[in-house]
Symmetry: D2
Subunit: 398 residues, 4 copies
Amino acid sequence: MSNAHRVAMLGTGLIGDFYTMTLHGQRGLDRVQVVYSRSEERGAAFRERWGVPESTTSIEEAVGHPEVDTVVVGLPNHMHLEAVEAAAGAGKAVLVTKPLARSAAEARRILEVVEGAGVFGGYLEDLVYTPKTLKALAKTRSGAIGDVLWVRSRETHPGPHSAWFWDAGQAGGGAIVDLGCHCIEIVRSFAGKGNRPVEVMCWADTLVHPIEAEDNAIGLIRFESGAVGQFEVSWTFRGGMDLRDEVAGTEGTIWLNHFLRTGFEMFATGAGDGYVAEKAESATGWQFPVGDEVVELGYVDMFTDMFNAMEEGREPAETLYDGYVVNAVMDACYRSASTRGWAPVELDWRGGQTPRVGRPERTEDGLVVIKEEQLPDGRRKLILKDPGSGAFVDRVLG
Amino acid sequence: MSNAHRVAMLGTGLIGDFYTMTLHGQRGLDRVQVVYSRSEERGAAFRERWGVPESTTSIEEAVGHPEVDTVVVGLPNHMHLEAVEAAAGAGKAVLVTKPLARSAAEARRILEVVEGAGVFGGYLEDLVYTPKTLKALAKTRSGAIGDVLWVRSRETHPGPHSAWFWDAGQAGGGAIVDLGCHCIEIVRSFAGKGNRPVEVMCWADTLVHPIEAEDNAIGLIRFESGAVGQFEVSWTFRGGMDLRDEVAGTEGTIWLNHFLRTGFEMFATGAGDGYVAEKAESATGWQFPVGDEVVELGYVDMFTDMFNAMEEGREPAETLYDGYVVNAVMDACYRSASTRGWAPVELDWRGGQTPRVGRPERTEDGLVVIKEEQLPDGRRKLILKDPGSGAFVDRVLG
Amino acid sequence: MSNAHRVAMLGTGLIGDFYTMTLHGQRGLDRVQVVYSRSEERGAAFRERWGVPESTTSIEEAVGHPEVDTVVVGLPNHMHLEAVEAAAGAGKAVLVTKPLARSAAEARRILEVVEGAGVFGGYLEDLVYTPKTLKALAKTRSGAIGDVLWVRSRETHPGPHSAWFWDAGQAGGGAIVDLGCHCIEIVRSFAGKGNRPVEVMCWADTLVHPIEAEDNAIGLIRFESGAVGQFEVSWTFRGGMDLRDEVAGTEGTIWLNHFLRTGFEMFATGAGDGYVAEKAESATGWQFPVGDEVVELGYVDMFTDMFNAMEEGREPAETLYDGYVVNAVMDACYRSASTRGWAPVELDWRGGQTPRVGRPERTEDGLVVIKEEQLPDGRRKLILKDPGSGAFVDRVLG
Amino acid sequence: MSNAHRVAMLGTGLIGDFYTMTLHGQRGLDRVQVVYSRSEERGAAFRERWGVPESTTSIEEAVGHPEVDTVVVGLPNHMHLEAVEAAAGAGKAVLVTKPLARSAAEARRILEVVEGAGVFGGYLEDLVYTPKTLKALAKTRSGAIGDVLWVRSRETHPGPHSAWFWDAGQAGGGAIVDLGCHCIEIVRSFAGKGNRPVEVMCWADTLVHPIEAEDNAIGLIRFESGAVGQFEVSWTFRGGMDLRDEVAGTEGTIWLNHFLRTGFEMFATGAGDGYVAEKAESATGWQFPVGDEVVELGYVDMFTDMFNAMEEGREPAETLYDGYVVNAVMDACYRSASTRGWAPVELDWRGGQTPRVGRPERTEDGLVVIKEEQLPDGRRKLILKDPGSGAFVDRVLG
């Protein structure tokens, strides 16, 4: 039986809502005890909304609350370091929302603060924890799809909901920092956490919105094994939130769709009774809801892993070090976008080494088998290569 | 903050596993304290499997356990009444798996026992609680799809996993009792719980398996409002478990796919390392896993509602009375299959009355508007009916 | 190399358009030479629209045209018999749109006229000819899914586009006659054309539109083999045209989606330049177009089969006899809806006999094997039945 | 009414089969008159297979055949130039399979030969002609999705069927040349044929097969408008052939799936009667056939456009110049893969200029509107930017 945790929630924005909805949802042991907001009014509204006992406008007071053992940092990116310092200083476990920081240097500092204080740290990268992703990762790690060759992770929507996201100064960047951080960690999880991200190639542009930060970007990440990750992020996508991952292995394929096509399809004319009052454009026509968002987006499994890890004295699946690696990859992306070529990922690598992907070579009569296929008439056809001459030949077997 | 409940789990089969996996999963408050099995060995294995403190071969001992406040009945159908009597006799809340009983008469008896004892009763119909279904029901009840006209609920797979299911004596029937009970309650939930199921028409046959019970059935349920429900059940389906619901309303449509197409698609050659040992036929080719089964099948939200209802002194969304209605509909199905015509649903109706479905009639120049559509050139076309002559005419508007 | 055919097209409605778009589409040999319409104006417009050389308001003139060898009947249902009599009287091949007639008696008469005249006859049931259906039928007939147990065919949309469809007198019925005729022939094609439809059970109701004909119906068709067909038709569906077929066999499953989910998905805000002029409600939000409608709805393969059959001196896949059988099934549907029980399909059966579906029985140690499955640990589990006692037992094999 | 064309088919491989299946399929006017193969035996087999009157082992004889007006080049890439020279020399229309050549220089030479001879030339890029693509392009060009920002085209499968494809010398490259040529032209078609491809960034690697050519590649193409194309090609994909396109515009989204998810889904145990003889691994489990491959892959509409263009004295949608542009883009891809940076596309540009993508800027009280969204309570929220200070603010409107 687990111990009940008491949380200080820092931040009352969308992410604070999602986290608290998760913690207070279903029949959960753990509760938010106190919420911190810069604004007294927003803190009070949050308290009311989620049945949280206390609110405060002081980070120190929140993290120092005697019943609180865990601090959740759900603040804008530029406030993460300061909040982590406060929490670690108070000796509390500290869980930080994504991205960990605005740069690898800042992430590194956060890591040092937490490791220096000897408190538990976790990186709240929810999308690695979606139930589909967890099962797909388990399959991948069991070898079901062979060596991973390519991972695509895509997150696109029409843009974030709060002003600070759009300000590169506060956020540390645009769509890459907001959305790419998810994709990069998903890519890493499938390619292997111990598989070093060697270099990146990134295109970023501001195509639609009147901002300085990039509203569209595509990045390629080359791993030590030869595997390639690909992220696509956009703040200009139309049609909802597109959240898909694809993995290609030597022996199989995985496709995950987290949002727009999950088996829930609905058409509404908009003329239904209950809809007259809120006749939103988006409430008519074909719609694709998800069942339970906090489950499908990974929040439930994420907090379960975090609290269980604390109790079991182990690391969570997503550590602050992972957050640092993600920041290092993003830093390389911005460098690549600027130098217009591949940029090395500069980081203090704690993982090991990963061998090159591939399949064992097979020969037939001294010729290398390139491909074997079955013809419609049942015969087998080989495509062979003569290792001496380099010539390729077709051979149909009796 | 909720109170933690302690459960006596009666039964160690697949459903007992699913229930306990749910209760002990994530960061849950509630726990199974004691498990009952007819077999000491199975009880011990279950205790081990799920970290349950105690097991017993005595129902009385299980339900009478002083720390237990809730009894979950996960036994074969023919043992439900006896188990409920024991639990109610001990003054405990009693939650009964689906179907409630083998017949409406037996279900009625269960209802009387629980109501007589004044204890809390709940019907563990999980598929009404899937996150997708809950959201779709909320949309439907808000009027988003207008009046519900038709509901299809389909559950088919290659047949159940334990011998007793196949024995009509112990089970009370075949695929209708095993699977149709889910579909009927899903249909009722969309058509309206207060919408009386008036009569049913059912086809049932034993097409493949060498058994007496039906292995395939289709049923139509006519509701007081005119809406029609349709269930399709089969123990001979190939390709996995097909679990889909479709709802048609005057103003919209809902399609739910709970299992085979939920946004998780995987192909495996079977040659992956980890797969060599367990080279199951089903582990190769295209596969369609679900993320977290206990979430997607509704178990999590079901227990949340049950325990919250107990604490809030309200009825759960699925009551034992609902289970009784389902049994009454199934009884009518068997009568219909035998009489080869519509059979009335005989039940003690506690719901109210429901008006006929429809849309308000609209006229244009004294003619009834049958349909209005837009032509490719932008003009509007009306199909009209002269209420006097009964003649139909096309009219294109400027 | 085929001969080019010259066609007299009777009728200028939606179906005449689709037929001519097909014949004149791509690089086709065959052409419409003359079109007949009751209205000179509509005839002229049609001529213009499709590059047809001649139009006439006389059926006799159209069918008697010296260059015409084939008459296509694309008229309202109540005019089919008269048109067929004219075409057969002129000694021309006659191809009749669906449904063949308003009743089996009328269809019978059409059949006699054509067979009496000794001319080629074909039934223009396009949906049996969709490329997906043709391939699925070939797979089914090759045994790929074993014995067919169940076929569902669904066609629903918000209602037809011309006034006469809504008038039961001219049409011979409502949604059953308009849409059910397609579904019934699809069901027959999968269940086996030689598999006698023995009896039907049908529910029909007028739920939404202010008309006398049914706007919703569901029918079950029991075949001699024990297989069951199921059709669902509606003129009240919201969200487009839902056109799906599902087939369950002892060894496999087929799902076909012809319209709303065919791999073409599009979202539009409606603000695109080109859309300002035609700002139709249906042109915004998620949409699901089909690629080439005349291909996807089967028109291309249908006419290819018809003309090739003429040249090869064989019957087409869809004969006028098939149209008659469909009418006989629909007649039984209306009787069943009225008697509220199963109604026999009364017809002059030209097919043979079909054995009962099933799988060969298998025993193990004298016990009947009900089911065999693989446990997660790799062991095999049998569910067995003692043929003497009737008892069911589970047995796990080492 | 069109004229019938008589074709000399050069090549008897898979592509020659597909082309002839298309030309001789349905009720087509046009026929293959003579087939050329280097092997007398393969020529004879092809003649037999497709009912072609004549075969020859001389290209000169084939292209010079007096009844032939059109030459289709379906030979390995390194033979295209020679074949085009022969056909143009004979004064025949010449249609060349994809890719046009092994390099832009070779493609340029082909273009000059055809333009010099003044004969009709067409580029047989079938995937731009799929019915879905044609309709999606029409929608895009009508403005339905606004300005195109991003196009993804993906073609992956387990590798080609003939030895010469695997030999970079004969083919001119690996997966980029084999598959990327399709993707690049699809991308161009959506981004705008007149939208100059300015530069490319490409990753290519040989991850699995023991060959020199790349078996996996990803390319980004930056167009003059700012739009970015993305192609993904692989010869190592598992699970069939993955053929998908995605387009993002300022006002909409298009997703096309041409092969693995087109609305045809089938499961087979492999135990069906007809399957015993050909018990292929791929004939069991879930499968995703396409209806009519030559339609769905664009062959039918492609030849229709080619022959119609000849008759109408216009250019086809896919010209040899388009083939040259594709080769120029592919050349840049190989350069980029080698220089590890963006590489300019070097070509003789015949198109015009394309303005930058975007949406008109909108202000509110002198502040720039970044985003407008509707809150759940119906109020509208603006995210605004102060053009002076650069500060971002949230504003909720009453």
